[in-house]
């Protein structure tokens, strides 16, 4: 091959490649602008930047709006880039606080990194609890009762038809059709999947042999991205079965889950109740409250399929920022803040005991 022909191949090849790549490039600019030009009213002023959990997005928007209304000199930016990204940004000093759908992972060095960033033990408190509902699309069936084993078998593909005797046995009155069950899962890693698989692995451990994970562990069934994708898949797919944030249920049919001897429908109160009977993880710094929700609780009215999301902050900040962080986070875990989130995002308010502990830790934030 002479040099001309090489050039004839290579140059257009590179040109085509470059063009192809530039066409396929997908920009993901979601940098929030920090605009701190507003002034007047309120005793506080300044800009606060947070990032993390997208589950908290609606709640953070409500908190931010409330707080900025009361303190017009304050600007708070919350960037819902995802829990992993939020923790990474917090640990590298990029944001003032982070929201995360799972507690900092000690074995991955996240606690150490957070402590290093803060120069002292970082504060981690639950701020957002959201019940997860099991929803389905079966024509003519509005509600179902399921025990954990049956639900796990349906999601694992071990029960394949809606008129399976096992489902019928728990729902004698329901007109269940001869329709295939189409389980739907999140195709993006998510805190919802993590909490739901955690529930299945504990409440139905004989059937669900996979550990809790942010990625759906089974390589079958329908995958949908985001809560909106899940809702869409269940709305359109006959026989579909899915797990979604309870606030997004809308008109979908919801299953009640067997807790103890009763069937409990998802509710904010039920999730709060489950949290209040759960124990904090041991072996963590005193400023770190990570809750292991008791998935096998039998407490009356508790609904153990819930997602707990956390706030991560430092115990000290320089200058005026300390007061700003303290005031904002105090508002978030306050009764009014929790109520505001419940209205805006359908979340469950923190149980009293956790709320007090969280408020106390946040109250300890000081100027360095």
């Amino acid at each position: 091959m002479n040099s001309t022909s090489v050039r004839r191949i290579a140059l257009p090849g590179i040109a085509a490649l470059v063009l192809g790549l530039s066409l396929s490039a997908c920009g993901a600019g979601n940098e929030s602008s920090s605009d701190d030009s507003s002034s007047g009213g309120g005793s506080l002023s300044g800009t606060l930047n947070g990032a993390g959990s997208s589950a908290q997005q609606a709640a953070q928007a409500a908190w931010t709006a409330d707080f900025q209304k009361a303190n017009s000199g304050v600007t708070i930016n919350y960037n819902p880039i995802g829990s992993g990204g939020g923790v990474t940004q917090f640990n590298s000093g990029g944001v003032d606080f982070a929201g995360s759908d799972k507690a900092l992972d000690a074995s991955a060095g996240e606690i150490d990194a957070a402590n290093k960033r803060c120069g002292a033990d970082a504060i981690e408190v639950p701020d957002y609890i959201s019940p997860i509902a099991i929803v389905f699309n079966v024509p003519g069936v509005k509600s179902l009762n399921l025990d954990p084993d049956t639900a796990a078998k349906m999601f694992a593909g071990k029960i394949t038809k809606w008129n399976d005797p096992e489902i019928k046995g728990e729902n004698p009155g329901a007109k269940l059709p001869d329709l295939a069950i189409a389980p739907v899962h999140r195709s993006d890693p998510s805190g919802t999947t993590n909490n739901f698989t955690d529930y299945l692995s504990k409440a139905a451990k004989d059937v669900w042999t996979w550990p809790a994970a942010e990625d759906w562990p089974i390589k079958s069934g329908e995958g949908a991205s985001g809560t909106s994708g899940m809702v869409d898949a269940v709305t359109k797919g006959k026989g579909a079965l899915a797990y979604i944030d309870n606030s997004q249920v809308g008109n979908l049919s919801v299953a009640s889950i067997k807790v103890g001897s009763k069937y409990v429908a998802p509710s904010a109160d039920g999730a709060s109740k489950a949290l209040s009977v759960s124990k904090p993880q041991t072996g963590r710094p005193a400023s770190d409250i990570a809750i292991d929700i008791d998935r096998t609780t039998t407490a009356d009215g508790a609904y153990p399929i819930a997602l707990t999301s956390y706030l991560i902050a430092c115990p000290t900040y320089s200058g005026d920022k300390a007061d700003l962080v303290k005031q904002y986070l105090s508002y978030v875990v306050s009764t009014e803040g929790q109520q505001s989130a419940a209205t805006a995002a359908g979340s469950a308010p923190l149980p009293d005991n956790l709320q007090q502990q969280a408020a106390q830790l946040i109250d300890g934030i000081t100027k360095s």
Binding site: L23, I81, S187, A233, K236, G237
Partner: protein, 309 residues
């Protein structure tokens, strides 16, 4: 510009000449630099993923096992998209260049170009909201009647969000670019050769086959390669439409589908941290290499054919 005296050829290069030459060369170098920069970034950030454990690799034993289903999904969806789009695009391009009356051809060409201006998220929304539900009965029919073909083995997806649907959306997305380039190439075919073919008694189709296609072949391949590049790299539309489970399967109509590299990165990146980010970046490098190899191979095939003729 018209009154430049021809005999003045000063050996001294003029300022304008120098500036233009330097700028053009700079632009060319910048492209290479950008390309090299991307490759270096992907390699440096990606290599740590080779030592990643299964916890960071979506429960796969090593990176090869992790990336293989994605490579498969990327290739199969792009190939299906090309299979649908190429004949369609060449047909449309021929209508515009040879069959339709001038005025209609202009309008049609304009409409096709408009397709290219639609953002990929909109294609995604269209795919998930309109196309997928419409395809469900077809998939069910396929599963019931030709289910013995492994490609159409049931159970059919109840939402229609299959790799076949994703490929059809991709096909529509790459249609404008393939059509536009093919059309330009067809229009470039020497008029005399076409008229000669007609004069020899060839029908219009024979003229196209004898005079237009041979002349346009390398142009068509370039067009298809550009389309392939877009199909393999397309992210948003696939991430939205496809029900991805990260498996390897030849079944085109079930709800369990292989994912593609680009869609996988888009879906997984927001919630990833540590080595799993490196794994995603390394999968990006794999896509980069595949695109390069496919383009280069296609170029080589075309030029060899032309040399041997």
């Amino acid at each position: 510009m018209t009154d430049i005296p021809l005999e003045v050829r000063s050996p001294k290069r003029r300022l304008g000449d120098l500036t233009f030459g330097a700028t053009a060369r700079g632009a060319g170098l910048l492209i290479l630099l950008a390309l090299a920069g991307v490759a270096v970034f992907l390699t440096l950030k990606g290599l740590p993923a080779l030592g990643a454990k299964s916890a960071d690799l979506d429960a796969h034993a090593n990176f090869a096992a992790y990336v293989w289903p994605l490579v498969y999904g990327t290739l199969i969806s792009a190939a299906l998209a090309l299979l649908v789009a190429t004949p369609l695009a060449i047909g449309v391009a021929l209508v515009v260049s040879h069959y339709a009356p001038r005025r209609m051809a202009t309008a049609l060409g304009y409409l096709i170009d408009l397709l290219a201006a639609v953002p990929s998220v909109v294609y995604g929304l269209w795919g998930i909201g309109f196309l997928s539900p419409k395809l469900v009965p077809i998939y069910e029919w396929l599963a019931d009647h030709v289910g013995w073909i492994p490609l159409f083995k049931g159970p059919a997806s109840t939402t229609g969000r299959t790799i076949l649907t994703a490929s059809i959306v991709l096909a529509i997305m790459i249609l404008p670019i393939v059509t536009a380039i093919s059309r330009e190439v067809f229009l470039q075919t020497p008029r005399l050769q076409q008229e000669a073919a007609l004069a020899l008694g060839a029908t219009r189709w024979e003229t196209i086959r004898l005079a237009v296609f041979p002349y346009a072949r390398s142009g068509i391949v370039s067009a298809v390669m550009l389309g392939l590049g877009r199909a393999m790299g397309e992210t948003m539309a696939v991430a939205m439409v496809l029900s991805a489970s990260g498996i390897v399967s030849v079944n085109l109509i079930s709800s369990t589908n292989p994912s593609t590299i680009a869609a996988n990165i888009a879906l997984k990146f927001p919630e990833s941290s540590g080595l799993s980010v490196n794994a995603l970046i390394l999968s990006g490098l794999v896509l980069f290499v595949i695109t390069f190899v496919v383009n280069f191979a296609a170029r080589a095939i075309v030029s060899r054919r032309e040399v041997s003729r």
